[in-house]
Subunit: 456 residues, 2 copies
Amino acid sequence: MSLERVLAQIDTDIDDATDRLLDLLRIPSISTDPAYKADCDKAADWLVDELTTLGFDASKRPTPGHPMVIGHADGPGPHVMFYGHYDVQPVDPLELWDTPPFEPAIETTAKGPVIRGRGSSDDKGQLMTFLEACRAWKAVTGALPARVSLFFEGEEESGSPSLVPFMRDNAAELTADVALICDTGLFGDNTPAIVTMLRGLLAEEVIITGPDKDLHSGMFGGLARNPIHILTKMIAGLRDETGRITLPGFYDGVPELSDEIRSQWQNLSFDHSKFLGDVGLSEPAGEHDRTPLEMIWSRPTCEVNGISGGYEGDGFKTVLPSRASAKISFRLVGTQDPEAIHESFVAYVNSTLPPDCTAEFPLGHGAPASQMKISHPAFEQARAALSDEWPMAAAYVGCGGSIPIAGHFKEILGMDAMLIGFGRDDDQIHSPNEKYDVESFHKGIRSWARILARLA
Amino acid sequence: MSLERVLAQIDTDIDDATDRLLDLLRIPSISTDPAYKADCDKAADWLVDELTTLGFDASKRPTPGHPMVIGHADGPGPHVMFYGHYDVQPVDPLELWDTPPFEPAIETTAKGPVIRGRGSSDDKGQLMTFLEACRAWKAVTGALPARVSLFFEGEEESGSPSLVPFMRDNAAELTADVALICDTGLFGDNTPAIVTMLRGLLAEEVIITGPDKDLHSGMFGGLARNPIHILTKMIAGLRDETGRITLPGFYDGVPELSDEIRSQWQNLSFDHSKFLGDVGLSEPAGEHDRTPLEMIWSRPTCEVNGISGGYEGDGFKTVLPSRASAKISFRLVGTQDPEAIHESFVAYVNSTLPPDCTAEFPLGHGAPASQMKISHPAFEQARAALSDEWPMAAAYVGCGGSIPIAGHFKEILGMDAMLIGFGRDDDQIHSPNEKYDVESFHKGIRSWARILARLA
């Protein structure tokens, strides 16, 4: 049977596959920082070359931001569209990396070998699992078992500004029978997962201005407005004592869990003590009347992701600053409306401003949450394929992160999307020392090879 | 009479005097930033050379930090000790400077010519007013009218860590009949001032740590502690709705104004609308039941001078940071005790910490407020001299800034100190585009020439 030979080929080729991933990881394709624009372009070119080698009709497609990479290959079965992103997060604080973030290497750890470097897990390593599965099918059978299209984005870590226009402009080309998205994780080390519930995201920045210049806090302190005070008071007011977010209308559209999902999640035996213990914490910090799994999968959040104002260097400077700013993200669930919440946030911030202070909101873009329809037959086919590869049966789970592409596939292209990935909780994505287990990479490739066989 | 000839000499020499100040301003002696250590040393050497040229027995004296500069010159009258500082504030945000901060120049403005550059007012320009007055006396009479010692510090803008040990170690050498300090301002454009009330300062930094690494806010948001939330809530709790500072015991030792000072300050007709209007503000922001002059001169404050945490670059990063920090200063009055307030602050911050969070306090050093005894005859002599030079009579005033040296002169050396300076409210000290009016410099030199004559 072909699948067995394909899996054997993957095992034989794993070192070369890893080397190819390391090549891609060496390109510092940080999409949010304009200084890395050429590197994003280089990563896109690298992918076009790889796809062409694999027999895809591949091209780099310009956008107002970083380019998309599209590839198509014919095949006998149904048409699947695979999505991943080649851009990565910034690397600061750089001094906390044990090795340079763009000099990836295989590292031996107590839990087994890992691929260390920015993007190893999010999302270059995951993206390459699918490419390598395609490579093995081609190598063994000369063809893919299904018709496959690939869609790689370069702006996922910077709010995907070009994504929706590009999907609308190329809707016919991008529509397939089902979408596959590889940007999520395993549920546990041995339990693969298909994400069927994804939180949305509203990203805000607020800049508060008081005096029109920086002042001396001795000369003006006590008399002049200090924008840091205004900002901190505003932020403190965003939650009440029970951890509930106070914005008017914020909880409109937040559903309660169905009994079915609630009982399934109880069976997952999520160990929040270990989950938190791995990052130096012990107690859940969210809404007092919610379980830890609800806090990260099915409840909306409000987190300050950055704050800045006044003197931040060494030593002390008695400045009373003109401006202070914060970056704030809201994770959304159910049918929460990002636009309505943006408006509620703006109204709330403005209501906290004393005389002489102004607020600017340079961002305010977002995407709603997604809920997959698991009645589509591909879900059970993929779940069976994953269960064949891994020690434990695959689970349908929620995901705290926001992967707006899943919602876009449904809304714009009418496609259901399956989110399958092989990341682990300790991959430190978005943090220093990001890694991807070699096992994730290897069994990830094998998983996709099996899924392609099942779907076909 | 000698004084008239000295004043005429000052007028003749003003362009050369300004050039000498520009030379000193070109040395970027930022004391708080270790990168400028050599420049601080260079500024000290420059002063030693100038003093030697003027006939002072001058030397650079090492400390664990930046050096002191000491000079002595004999004279017939009483012994006066003049203090100033040659270090300057950092220059960030650099992009807000219209000209490079260490390329000083004379600039024509609607209000007259100004000397633009970091340190032009605080404190190099002020310090040089006294040196140039000495130069004119020497040029005209061949001697100074009083015995003069000079004491220049290089750590004033970074908390003066070496000052008290140095004063204790050199107490005999540094003790004179009266101290003169030039680091304050005029009361109005035409009204000179002697500061008799100085706020103290307690400088704090607080670093709050939650998770032991930066986290992905999608994966952990809602469940994990966010140190920015803890920090902002702590800061918001430092004041109540009436602007009063909430630290237990904070107001211990804060005196009410005497009727005499209250009525004198009412006569000063302080125009807070203009004072605030010059920096883009209109309404006083402090304690609701206090006048604007009280807010900046005689009431204690709590100001956040810097805040930092998470992602502060361009774009957005959905990080849930491990740490967040703030720099906070308390201005102190009366007999408020910096150590007691430090302890109260630490106890308050710790009381706001939820489980899993810790706080560090790397600073916590301070100096109490100072109140001068204006019964010393030098005060009325100096007031008369200033009133001779300026259109309006000199006033005894308060000062919101902290100049701990005045208190140290009293406590360690038993000397009363007169704080006389020629800065203006719009000098933008500690801010971009710092300037010193050429009139401040010129009439400042003339003022000191007159004061030396009166004291002698």
